[in-house]
Structure formats: structure tokens, C-alpha cells
């Protein structure tokens, strides 16, 4: 027979621990973290007009077969499901969220079209980022969690969605290729 006093004490401790967990969870769910986008704000100033929005979008697979965005293989052209599940909470519909998150509208395409940008986006999704941003006497931590638990297809799907949603499709270069699961897989293995 167990000592009932020990059992009562352990029940009390469990109650304390669960209460702490609940308090932490509530606080965190209302927490915008400590992500500052000071350096990223300059990217928002790029005008969509600087990009030829009339050029048709040519989308190719790795296999070289051309097609519309809608014809890209299902895993890469998935709808917004993964984005809605994992990204919308912070990034909304591509708009900036105060000082918390940058606007993916325009920015995503800007990052894609910089040198090394295509690989950078995949790496960013898989590895996240921690970077210090100094503002005067204060150092802010710019953070994005890694999402390497997503499958290759899901990562490709999210990237393709961000790059084609909110009018971003009109900013894409003419020779843009949608991401594929295979490409993400190669980058994951290389990393």
C-alpha cells in the first residue's frame, strides 16, 4: 500500500506544473516574440512597377516540361493548406504585421531574384534564422524558426504559394520555375 501522503503531494505538484504550463501557453499565444524587421523594411520599398508584370509566366519542371502554374505537379502546386497551417498565423495574407513579421508580398519575389536567392529561400525554410540586429543601444534578435519537419513537397508547396499569391505572380521573372519536392530534397541533403 502506498503512502497516501506521498500520493497527495505528488497530485499537488502535478497541479502546480500544469497550472504553470497553462500560464506559459496563454502568455506565449499572445506573444509576438522579439522579431524585429528593421533591416528588411527596405525591401518593402521595391515598387511592383519595376517588374514587367505583362510578361507571361513560364513555369518549368526540372524535367523541362513547360506548363502553367496550375499544371505544376500536385506536390509543388498544392493549395494554401500548408501555408495556412504553419505560416498564416504570423505572416497573414502576405502583409507585414507591425514590427513582427515582414510582408511576404513582394519580398518573397525580391529574395528569389537576388543572387543565390532560390537556394536561400529553401535554406531559410529548413534552417530558420537567428540574427542580431543592432538598433542604437539595443540588440534585437531577428528570428524565424526552422520548418525542417515539413516534407520536401510541403516546403516546395509553401514557397510556390508565397511566390504566386497576393499578386506576387505578376512580379515573377519570365523564366521562373516552380519549386519541386526533388529540388528541396537535394538542397536538404546538401545542407
Amino acid at each position: 500500500m502506498r503512502d497516501i501522503r506521498v500520493s497527495a503531494s505528488s497530485a499537488a505538484v502535478v497541479a502546480i506544473l500544469l497550472a504553470v504550463a497553462a500560464g506559459v501557453a496563454w502568455s506565449r499565444s499572445h506573444d509576438s516574440g522579439n522579431v524585429i524587421t528593421g533591416e528588411l523594411s527596405s525591401a518593402d520599398s521595391i515598387s511592383p512597377a519595376a517588374v514587367d508584370s505583362t510578361a507571361p509566366i513560364a513555369v518549368t519542371h526540372d524535367s523541362g516540361i513547360a506548363g502553367n502554374v496550375a499544371d505544376v505537379d500536385g506536390s509543388a502546386a498544392a493549395d494554401s493548406a500548408v501555408y495556412n497551417r504553419d505560416c498564416r498565423g504570423c505572416h497573414g495574407a502576405g502583409e507585414a504585421r507591425g514590427r513582427r513579421t515582414p510582408a511576404l508580398r513582394v519580398l518573397a519575389v525580391t529574395l528569389l531574384t537576388t543572387e543565390g536567392g532560390r537556394e536561400y529561400l529553401v535554406d531559410f525554410m529548413l534552417d530558420g534564422r537567428v540574427r542580431a540586429v543592432d538598433k542604437g543601444n539595443v540588440t534585437y534578435r531577428n528570428t524565424h524558426p526552422p520548418f525542417d519537419e515539413l516534407t520536401n513537397a510541403e516546403v516546395a508547396s509553401v514557397l510556390n504559394y508565397m511566390l504566386t499569391a497576393w499578386g506576387n505572380d505578376k512580379l515573377l521573372p519570365g523564366d521562373w520555375r516552380a519549386y519541386t519536392a526533388a529540388e528541396v530534397g537535394r538542397r536538404r541533403r546538401a545542407g
Binding site: 500500500m1 503512502d3 504550463a21 497553462a22 501557453a25 499565444s29 516574440g33 530558420g128 528570428t143 519537419e149
Partner: protein, 458 residues
């Protein structure tokens, strides 16, 4: 005390007369320390930098996951045999806490998984083994290791797993659970993507694993210099043996009457074959210690064959079940079966110290000819005020004493004759201790005058 019996503890005199768990400063300190240690990983995780928070259900699942991690680490501290913790609380209660918190941690881990899946059914795929998702795989391995550890503990006998084998597997699985759990935190990454946090959490876990490394590897090395040898094994009544040990080139071991030690007989100091027994010798002779051992299991049935000169290692003394740890003018010792062992030590010590306190010994056993140490106890308990009350389950013809089990009829006159500052100490089968405790309380004996140690190893 043998591992199969149950006891409940008294606190050492320097704390309180009786530890009512959660009513004493020592136990409140222990519980507070436990809560702090358990929350430490969560505190590390919540230190900036932090990503923006997610939905409430997800944050709660993550928070309880970190709490479970803290509990898993703390489990190692509970089995460390730190005397600073076990002495005031009672090692039996610390062991019970270890068992209960282990089950609680398992339930919290299960809740963590369930919440993650219910909140987002797509997360179910994380439980697919080797899906390429390292966060899911390590979490799954931690969960499976934990379930296996619990199953082997709960169903050890049904699985016919030997005690030593269980101890080794329990330690290894415990380490595996903690390692996989921490790897899961690292690879899932949501709260540990900052490098220093990962390092801090791994160090935290390693500190606790180091405890078991100390217990199983380092401490035995120190015991090599304090070995003992078997002086003799003497047969007693009732399938009981007295194992007598002498120190090998050292001064011996000081202990309080009623305490116990873990002993390793004829094996390496690193052997997992280690068994707890109460000292039965007088505490005034640290240079010669004795253990009363009854043939009850695989190991105890071999005691009779142990040869003189056999090397033995003694880890002790442990426990706070002792008349030395509480003030009393009179002692009432209530023993069932091999529960006589610690009582024998208390009686012998009293005589050797010239302690004037009278002792009433209530000794329950199956029959008079199976009552180990009966003649010696009858001889010793002849002082004015002393009394030996035998309670025989199978009374022989002509027996006029108490028969059956220790009952209210047996205890009522004893309690009446021992008013004042009397300490009641109970040692025997769990059922007997529960019954006697209930009887004493019904006779208005205060709880803080009753000493017991409930100890049920696997």
C-alpha cells in the same frame, strides 16, 4: 529490512519527530526543489530569442513537453541515494515519489502527443517511424523507450525478469528516454533553435545522467577501499540466517539501530546484484555488522552457502527508521516475520549502551519454533518494564499467549501500559503494518509517535 517488506519513516531528531509528508519543513523543501528542477528546462526554453507565439493549444503542448523533460531528468536525482534528501524524508518515500512521478511524466508525454495530433491531425505523420522527420522520429523513440521502461517495471515478475536484469535495463532505458527526449527538443527546434539553448539543455540532462554514472561506476570504485569479508553465516530458526561481516582494513561502519544497507555478496563492486537488508547487530560495534536474512527469493536462498572470507561490499547506512531519531522514554517495537531484524538491532544496542528505556516487543510469526532470535530476545527483555509479547499465527497446543494476528485486543493493554512519551515502531509485511497502524490510531496513539517505513521495490 528486506526489500519485500514495507516501512514508513521517522524523521531524524534534528528535524521533526515524525515526518508527515508536506507537513515538515524538509518535505516542503524537497517538493519545492523538485518543482524548480522540473521547470528548469522550460525556463531555458522561454529565454529569448523567441519566435512569435503560436496557438494556445500548441503552446500548451510544448510547455508540458518541456515539463516532462524536466521530470525525466529529475528521476535520476531521486534514485541517487543522497542522504541529505532521503534521511529527513525517508528513502521509501523518495522511492515512491520516483515511481509516481515516472508515471506522471509518462502521462504528460502522452498528453503532449495527443494534443499535438488533435490540434493538427497532420501531425500524426510525425509518428511514422523513419519518415525523414528527425523531430518526429526522436520523439517516437523517446515515447517507445518510456513505455518499455514502464512495462518492464510493472510486469517484471510476470515477464520473469530477474531483479538484477531489471535494474540494468531500467538504468539503460532511463538514459535512452532522456537522450531521445532531448534530441527531440533539439531537432523539433521550435524553442531550441538558438545554439546556446541547445547546449544548456544538453548539459542539464547530462548532469542528471552523471548521477547514475557516479552511482554505478564511480562510487563502487570508492567501495573497493572499504570492502568487507564474511566472518560467518549462522543458521537461525524459521529459514533465517545471520550474515556476519568484518571490515577489510578499515574501521567499519557507523549506523543507527534500525537502519539498513545495500550489500553485494561475493560479486564485483560494480555488480547490479545488490540487496537491501536491515542491520541486526548492535550499533555500538561498527567493526562487526550483522544482517538477519530470511530465505525468500533467489538471492536470499543462497545466503546459507556463502563461505567465510567472501568479499562483500556495503553501501550504507541508509534510512531513518531508528529509535535514535526520535525522543522517547519508552519503546514499543512491533515486528512481523523478518521485520524482527531492525528490532533486534534496537534491543541489542539498548543493552550495549546501558540505555535504561524499557522495551515492549510484540513479535508476530507463524509459530514459536520458527521465531528467529526468540531465545535471545526472551533473555534480553527481562529488565523491569520490558515485555515480550509473542503472537503466533499457528499456535501450538498448550499455548496461552496471543494467537492469530496482531489485533486490537493485543495492543490495547500495551498502549494503556505505555502512556507518556512512547515511540511505536512497526516493521513487517505491508498488510500487517497497515493494520497495526490503524489499530494504534484507534487507540489514540498520535501519528507522530508511530514509526514505519513503507518500501516496495519492484
Amino acid at each position: 529490512m528486506q526489500m519485500f517488506y514495507h516501512f514508513t519513516k521517522l524523521a531524524p531528531i534534528r528535524h521533526t519527530l515524525h515526518v508527515q509528508f508536506m507537513h515538515s519543513p524538509a518535505s516542503r523543501l524537497f517538493v519545492g526543489l523538485y518543482v524548480v528542477l522540473t521547470l528548469a528546462p522550460l525556463a531555458i526554453a522561454l529565454t529569448p530569442p523567441l519566435a512569435p507565439g503560436a496557438e494556445l493549444w500548441l503552446e500548451f503542448a510544448l510547455a508540458i513537453g518541456f515539463i516532462a523533460l524536466g521530470q525525466l531528468a529529475a528521476q535520476f536525482g531521486l534514485i541517487a541515494r543522497f542522504q541529505q534528501i532521503s534521511q529527513p524524508l525517508g528513502i521509501d518515500r523518495v522511492m515512491q515519489w520516483h515511481t509516481q512521478m515516472g508515471l506522471v511524466a509518462a502521462l504528460i508525454v502522452a498528453a503532449h502527443v495527443v494534443i499535438l495530433v488533435v490540434g493538427q491531425p497532420a501531425n500524426l505523420r510525425l509518428l511514422v517511424p523513419f519518415s525523414g522527420n528527425t523531430g518526429g522520429t526522436t520523439g517516437l523513440l523517446a515515447l517507445l523507450s518510456m513505455l518499455l521502461l514502464i512495462a518492464l517495471s510493472v510486469w517484471r515478475r510476470q515477464l520473469k525478469l530477474g531483479y538484477e536484469q531489471w535494474r540494468v535495463s531500467h538504468a539503460l532505458l532511463g538514459i535512452a528516454v532522456l537522450a531521445f527526449a532531448q534530441a527531440h527538443v533539439t531537432t523539433a527546434g521550435r524553442y531550441a533553435f538558438a545554439g546556446w539553448k541547445n547546449v544548456a539543455l544538453w548539459i542539464w540532462c547530462a548532469m542528471f545522467v552523471a548521477i547514475i554514472v557516479y552511482l554505478r561506476i564511480v562510487k563502487p570504485a570508492f567501495m573497493l577501499r572499504r570492502a568487507w569479508t564474511v566472518a560467518e553465516t549462522a543458521r537461525e530458526a524459521g529459514d533465517t540466517w545471520t550474515l556476519v561481516l568484518r571490515p577489510d582494513n578499515h574501521a567499519g561502519m557507523r549506523f543507527a539501530p534500525g537502519q539498513f544497507a545495500w550489500i553485494k555478496v561475493g560479486t564485483s563492486a560494480w555488480s547490479a546484484s545488490e540487496h537491501p537488508f536491515s542491520f541486526s547487530s548492535s550499533a555500538t560495534h561498527p567493526e562487526r555488522i550483522e544482517f538477519a536474512i530470511k530465505e525468500l527469493g533467489d538471492f536470499t536462498r543462497t545466503i546459507g552457502g556463502v563461505k567465510a572470507g567472501t568479499v562483500t561490499y556495503v553501501d550504507g547506512p541508509h534510512g531513518s527508521f531508528s529509535c535514535d531519531f526520535a525522543r522517547a522514554d519508552r519503546l514499543v517495537l512491533i515486528a512481523g516475520g523478518i521485520g524482527i531484524a531492525p528490532m533486534l538491532s534496537m534491543v541489542r544496542t539498548r543493552d550495549e549502551r546501558d540505555d535504561a528505556r524499557p522495551i515492549t516487543l510484540v513479535y508476530a510469526c507463524s509459530s514459536i519454533d520458527r521465531a528467529a532470535y526468540y531465545r535471545e530476545l526472551a533473555e534480553r527483555l527481562r529488565r523491569p518494564g520490558d515485555s515480550l509479547v509473542m503472537v503466533l499465527e499457528r499456535a501450538h497446543e498448550g499455548w496461552v499467549g496471543a494467537a492469530g494476528y496482531i489485533s486490537r485486543d493485543v495492543m490495547a493493554p500495551i498502549v494503556a501500559a505505555n502512556s507518556g512519551s512512547t515511540l511505536y515502531m512497526i516493521c513487517g509485511p505491508d498488510v500487517m503494518m497497515t493494520s497495526v497502524e490503524r489499530i494504534l490510531k484507534s487507540l489514540s496513539v498520535p501519528a507522530n509517535r508511530i514509526g514505519m517505513e513503507r518500501f516496495n521495490l519492484v
